[in-house]
Symmetry: none
Subunit: 206 residues, 4 copies
DNA sequence: CATGAATGAGACTTCATTCAT
DNA sequence: AATGAATGAAGTCTCATTCAT
């Protein structure tokens, strides 16, 4: 008698007062965790910190998540979704050259990071963050599409594989964000990323 | 600045049985900490882990260090000294072009990191590691000297400032090490750094 | 005394869709608890374990039972009924000598225990299990009847009271089951009980 | 510089003020655990209960033992030692027949249990007590020696193996203790064990 | 009848740290 | 210089139980 729906097997669970409340509670946990990410970071926060800030009981925390890392993944997923749905569509302007699109891609990437805040980004840019390799695929795919398009249009050289170029750009991009972090966000990441990428990109031109 | 060896301001302390034993004990602590850095990392290791692995008592640990971070600093200093004394001299071969020297610089940088081991490097490449900005000056200086020499000899363009180029190279270098870390050291950092730097450097050529 | 079937004092409740569902739910709980008895035992199982395995919600569990012990009692009652109704009648074969009947009694007792499973029996054979003295009366009565018959027929000596002999046999029987438990059911209880009782019984022969 | 001793590798650690204190602390833990065994039992007691009653801190408890079960094993070992050193020697009186020695053996076994107290014994006689099979070997060995001696002297029949007889006697012995427990120690275990064993033993006579 | 969200007490365990020896 | 006994704060996690829907 659970979530009886139409003919679909899983489908969206019926929205009741209860499911709404459950969502609200998860929201509280997410919010609290983001807040703590920005101040003390994932490693230093405790589950007690989270449920205190969220204004719920420990038990409730454990009802929804097993570890704080699990919350972090969800958090990441949400941020990721935002990037996908809001940022990516902006790249589809026909009139732009591929180089410009790539610059735009990194510009938005930088803006996105700056919007998340220094502390959050510092947490993210950890060498032990599995997300880079696990979930980052999507971003890689987007960028790689641009590179491929560039090679197809003759804007980019084809002497280096698209995948390699993509990787190259991402490595440099992450290097820039990393630098921004260790310098405590003391400059405009967005400006620097656009400028520095502008210097790098000619390397791959025809 | 405790019980240092020769050359420090306090002058050489008289070497007695006691000071020898003390040095030996500190050595044990350092060794154990390095070992643990390579396996579980600074954040995850406990003081218990350290003194267990070192084969000494808790009390003895506290006799020499107040925190594990204190040990880490000493460790870092030792590694840094090694780089200065062993690696840097190798760059002074007259017959090399500046570009080659820079590649050699990064090659050794990579070798150095690989020698330290993945986990150790993962620990180091943290956005909260103050060492990058605090102690890294020396390495920056070395690299910048090379860049300046390159511009003086006409090998490099002077349209971009030496400092900016240096920074650019370091950012990319760190990006590469970071990538190596998040991919769990699944490839040869040394090979990749030489190859990728080889692609980047022409950007700054005359 | 809830929602009982026929024959109880409250009289048969009207069978509706609801009562049927209720019975089914209780059945699920019983089944799950038996399963858990056989694997982890009463002490180690949690109410969470039970309702998970039963595929119902916590609330539903509490609707029917207050504690897991309460379920256990029901379970015990069911098993006991089974022994009474299925096993005991088999002893009434005229052609058997009393000694043979007693061996049969213990054989079925052993079979019954083996059927219940090691973990279940381990739970039962607790020194704090009130069931032995409270509910065991019935089994004692059965056995004692056999002993009395044996004395009447001259098969058994009358120099020791029937009650004392009965007790003696039960103590040894329980000792055997206990041994089977502490040896983790590593042998056939049924075979051993028949064999060992066969050795003991001559003591009470004429 | 640990416990330097003579030429033996392990040897008794030098007795200092500190080792004495350590022993005293362990003693406190043991005492507290015994006390709790007698009242609420191993399963129900918590580590908090133990260290509270022992008047030490949690940390100290964990300094010496990892689990309460570990304490229990030590406890058991102590009791076992007592049996070995005090009880067993009493069996070596030449003038006794083997049957008498066995009765004496069980008499002391019963006395020993009665001395431990009903609650303690109740805890011990658990089907999940690994001690019966793990550590009980010693007692089995003692009893078996007696049986073997009885067979050698012709007092006992040799048609059944000594090991089997030993086991038989122990099973019955445990059955008696178990009965004493479920009847809440309402009779003299010592008297009953001597009496009932006296009835059983003739079975194995020549 | 059935659900599962929410609670918070409480058990377990680890650790950094102190200090008398 | 070295030891390790003792401490207790603090974090993790589980569970029984309640109750509105």
């Amino acid at each position: 008698m659970k979530a009886g729906g139409g003919g679909n097997m899983e489908g969206p669970r019926k929205v009741t007062q209860r499911t709404l409340q459950a969502e609200a509670t998860k929201e509280k946990i997410i919010k609290a965790t983001i807040e703590l990410m920005k101040t003390i970071g994932l490693n230093n926060m405790t589950i007690k910190d989270i449920h205190h800030k969220a204004g719920i009981s420990v038990g409730t925390f454990y009802h929804y998540y097993k570890t704080k890392e699990e919350v972090f993944f969800e958090l990441y997923r949400i941020a990721d979704d935002y990037f996908k749905q809001v940022v990516v569509p902006k790249l589809n302007r026909k009139e732009l050259a591929v180089t410009e699109k790539i610059l735009l891609f990194f510009k938005h990437y930088a803006l996105f990071n700056e919007a998340n805040g220094l502390e959050y980004v510092k947490q993210l840019y950890s060498t032990s963050n599995k997300m880079f390799t696990a979930k980052g695929r999507y971003m890689i795919a987007i960028l790689q599409e641009l590179v491929v398009a560039g090679q197809a249009s003759g804007e980019f050289s084809s002497s280096i594989g698209a995948e390699e170029i993509t990787n190259y750009l991402l490595i440099f991009g992450r290097g820039l964000v990393f630098d921004w972090c260790i310098r405590e966000g003391s400059y405009s990441l967005t400006e620097k990323i656009v400028w520095d990428m502008g210097i790098l990109l000619p390397v791959f031109r025809q």
